[in-house]
Structures are given as structure tokens and as C-alpha cells.
Amino acid sequence: MTATIFTLGTSIMLLLSLLAAALGLLVVEKAFRVSRRWDRADEEERYELEKEFYVAYAVVCIVLAIRIFSVPLYFWVMQTLAPTIPGAMCLWGIFNALPELCWSTLTLKFGLPVLYFGWLILARINNSCKRNPLMKNLMSLYVLLSPLLMIDSLVDLTVFSRLNPMQVVCCTSAIDVWQRPVPSLIAGISGQLVLLLIFLALCLVYASFSFASQSSSAFEWPSRIASLALLPVSILATTEVLTPWILKLPLHHCPFCLLYRKPASILFLVTLWFSTAVPWWILMTKKMGREDEEANKAEFKLRGALWKSSGTALVIGLTTILTLMLISLA
């Protein structure tokens, strides 16, 4: 049996995960009590619950900040382990050192921060109100989030305590030999070009819906549907077109190599993530952030700003990736 890889990065990840899990667990009971008692409490008890809320709120903010900060750190620390894992050149190979855990939990790394930020956005609305109208909703949501938060922390704890320097296969042998999901020709046109055009068209439709949603709620559900459609199309476009074209390696489809070799593409990933997360944050705030008139106003104001940011972020991301493409094609 080989020894666990132990570096400064992995030890920081272990510490942060442990801290987040411990703090997160510590505050669940408080959050549960506030959410359960609030409606039945008289004025005096509500004052006591409010004090408990402030403690819970501060701890939850720290826990969520740790978990959010841990996401980029997770990928960065994993990438730094490449020299210690024989055969690994990028994250693809490193993930293969613990494939059952790393691959299956990859979606958590992108999905859970959407919920974490959603909670923080609700907290932002609550803070802008004079009477803490979302206190109960925030605590209830945290109680629901806490199992996911624990899983998130436990995944990191397990990954970084079990990674060992075993021989792995990396992206060149894993990706290029497979049959591609997009046919080389569609109606006589290059399949890659068709996919790229679909991706660009969908991005433009989504950005337009986002901007339009600022002034009309009729565009909100179309935006959500477009954001869902954009997810698989973006992944396909990144692996099948953007990566091989930008890296000038026609048979190389590894998105991790794109992110590593062209760091500007990280901006594309982040803006795309942010942009597609916005409709779901807005759904959360509409359902849980409109407890009274004041919260309603704050939510409405924030909603407009979020839709605008969503459209703008997508335009920035798209510009970045198209610039990288043009540079590589030039």
C-alpha cells in the first residue's frame, strides 16, 4: 500500500474541510431551533431567537465562505499534485487516482456553490431590511443545506486523505481514443462548426433573455430553460470545439488542459457558471426572499441587478473565449 500524498495544499484543504464540517455541524441545532420556534414565539422569545440567529448567521457565513473558497482551491491543489502522480499531466489524470470519488462528485463542485451563494444572496436581502424578515427562511434553508454541506466537506476530507501516488492514465489516452459524440459532418457541414454555431446562438438567446428579464418577468422562465440547455451545450462545445481549436490540437478534447494552458479560459468558465446560476438564485429569492413589503422591494431591486449581471457576464465570457479562438486561428 502506498502512502497518502501530503503537501501544504492538501493539508490546507483537510484543515478547511474539517473546520467547515465542525462549524457547520455546531450551528445546525441553533438554526433548527430558530426556524422551528420563530412562528410560535412571543415578542420576548423572538428577541432571544434573534440573538441566536446572529450567532448562527455569522457562523454560517464563515462556513459558506470556506466552502466557496475551497472550490477553486480544490482544483488548484489537485493540479499541483500532477508531479506526484505517475502518468498524470492535468486534472484528468489526477482525478483518475481516485476516480470513483473525484468524477462522481465533480458536479457537486459546481452545483453546491449555487446553493451557497443563493443563501448569501437571501442574507443580503435580509440585511438590507430593518426587521430581519428572512430570519426564519435563512435558518430553514441552512438546515436543508447542512447535509449537502457535510457531504461537500467529507468529500474533500476523503479525497485529500486517500490520494496516493499510483500510476494513472491521463487525458491523451482517455479522451482521444473514444468515439466523438458529435458527428464529423452534419448535412454536409462540419459537425464542430454546427455545434459552435448552436452554442453561440444559445448564448446570444440566453443573454438576450437575461437582459429582457430585467424589465419583464415573462422572460424569466425562458431564461431558466435556456440556462439548462446551455449547460450540456457548453460542455460539448468546450470539449469538442473550443479546446481542440484553441489548443491547436485537433484530437485533444480535455477541458482541464484548456484551463491549465490558457488561463484566460478560466474567466469563461467562471462567467458561464455565474450567468447560468443567476436564474436559479432569482427563483430562490422569489420563493424565499419576499416575506414583507420591505424584503419585496429589496428582492425586486436585487433581481434586476442580477439579471443584468447575468447577461453581462455571459457576454464577457463569450468575448474571452472567442478572442482566444481568434488568436489561435490567426
Binding site: 420576548e44 428577541y47 434573534e50 440573538k51 446572529y54 440585511n127 431590511c129 430593518k130 426587521r131 430581519n132
Partner: protein, 216 residues
């Protein structure tokens, strides 16, 4: 009401209804335990009434969240405590600039504002001293400087001249009169007859009740 529902329950204030107008100089007096400091704490949003309401500019602020009340305290009020509550490990200017640290004022500007107010209060040469190196009267003026450095709309002072000599007492009164001229609202707990002469509203409390309320 303190310790509500317990054997040592105390009604610090009862049936107190006061309207304070912007620019008023309010003097609160009464014997020890009459509820003066509680009244000041309620008006300054340092505690909540167990019964009753507090209005500010027509808004009922006593039902606001703690966080919002803290924001109001930070932005609207300056508090001079009876015991000064200065931090001995900080220099004079550090004590005075403390309220500015919660107001997004940068370090240089904080020091500048602190030195300005210290100069106005005759403590310009003492800015770098530790508070323990100052006389009681000077410490009181530092406490006043700390309350005024944010240019608050309302200044609340609990016995500001109780532990100072006559000369310092006069200078404190002069500071308050200057503030009144600037339109600030002053609510002062004091037994000083000079303060009583200058205040346009005088409230006398006895066992948590208003014994007399005089508006000049």
C-alpha cells in the same frame, strides 16, 4: 423591565412618554435608581423596551432588528458614558477615532478627524498620550471627543460632569452649547445646576416614573 418573570424583576421605567424635538437640549435628573440611565439607553437604542415603543423621525425603531439598531447607533448617535469607557491600550487619538473604523473611513482620514476634534476640545497636545496618563477631566473630554467625532445628530451623555472639576465642567457645558447652536439634539443625565439652566427641556424621574417635565 429588567429580569422579567424572575423574583428580582425590576420595572426601571413605567408610563414614560416623552417627545424630543430635533435641536432640543434635554436634561434628565432624578435620584439614583430612578431610571435615568435606562431612559438614556432606550433612547440611544442600547436596549429594547419590554413594553412600549420608540419612534425616530416618525418610524417605530424599537421593533427594528439588532443589526439595524446598531447601524442607527453608529450613524445617528454619540454616547458619552459616565465611566468614560476608554481603552487604556490605545492612545488618545486611537480612542477618539474608534467609531470611524465602523464607517469606512480610511486610516489617514480617521486620524485627521480625531486630531481636529481633540484640538477643538483643547486636547491637541495630548493626542499621542495613553488615557491613563490623562487627568479625569481630560479623560472625560476624550470620551466626549469620541462621541462627537462622527458628527452625530443626537448626543447622549450620562453624568458627563459628575467626576470633573468646575473648570472642566464649564468647558463640557460650552461644548454642549456649541453643539446646540449647530442644531444637534442633546440628551444629558446630570445634576449640574449650570446644565439645568441651559437645557430647554428638563425631565425629573422618580422610581421609574416622570415626576416633572418642563419645556422652556
Amino acid at each position: 423591565m429588567y429580569n422579567k418573570g424572575e423574583p428580582n424583576e425590576v420595572a426601571a421605567l413605567q408610563d414614560v412618554s416623552i417627545e424630543i424635538k430635533s435641536g432640543d437640549f434635554v436634561l434628565v435628573k432624578g435620584p439614583s435608581g430612578s431610571g435615568k440611565s435606562t431612559l438614556l439607553s432606550l433612547v440611544g437604542l442600547l436596549c429594547r423596551p419590554t413594553k412600549g415603543r420608540i419612534f425616530y423621525d416618525g418610524e417605530e425603531v424599537s421593533s427594528y432588528s439588532d443589526a439595524w439598531q446598531a447601524r442607527m447607533r453608529r450613524e445617528k448617535t454619540g454616547f458619552v458614558f459616565q465611566q468614560h469607557n476608554l481603552l487604556p491600550q490605545f492612545p488618545v487619538w486611537g480612542n477618539v477615532s474608534l467609531p470611524l473604523t465602523c464607517r469606512d473611513v480610511n486610516g489617514g482620514e480617521q486620524k485627521k478627524k480625531a486630531l481636529n476634534i481633540l484640538e477643538r476640545l483643547g486636547l491637541g497636545s495630548r493626542w499621542s498620550f495613553r488615557t491613563a496618563q490623562l487627568s479625569v477631566g481630560e479623560q472625560q473630554r476624550v470620551a466626549i471627543a469620541r462621541a462627537l467625532v462622527t458628527d452625530p445628530e443626537i448626543v447622549l451623555a450620562d453624568e458627563p460632569t459628575a467626576s470633573v472639576d468646575e473648570e472642566t465642567s464649564l468647558s463640557v457645558l460650552q461644548i454642549f452649547l456649541d453643539l446646540k447652536k449647530l442644531g444637534r439634539t442633546l440628551i444629558v443625565v446630570s445634576h449640574d445646576p449650570l446644565m439645568a439652566e441651559q437645557a430647554n427641556v428638563a425631565i425629573e424621574l422618580r422610581s421609574g416614573l416622570i415626576k416633572s417635565l418642563r419645556r422652556a
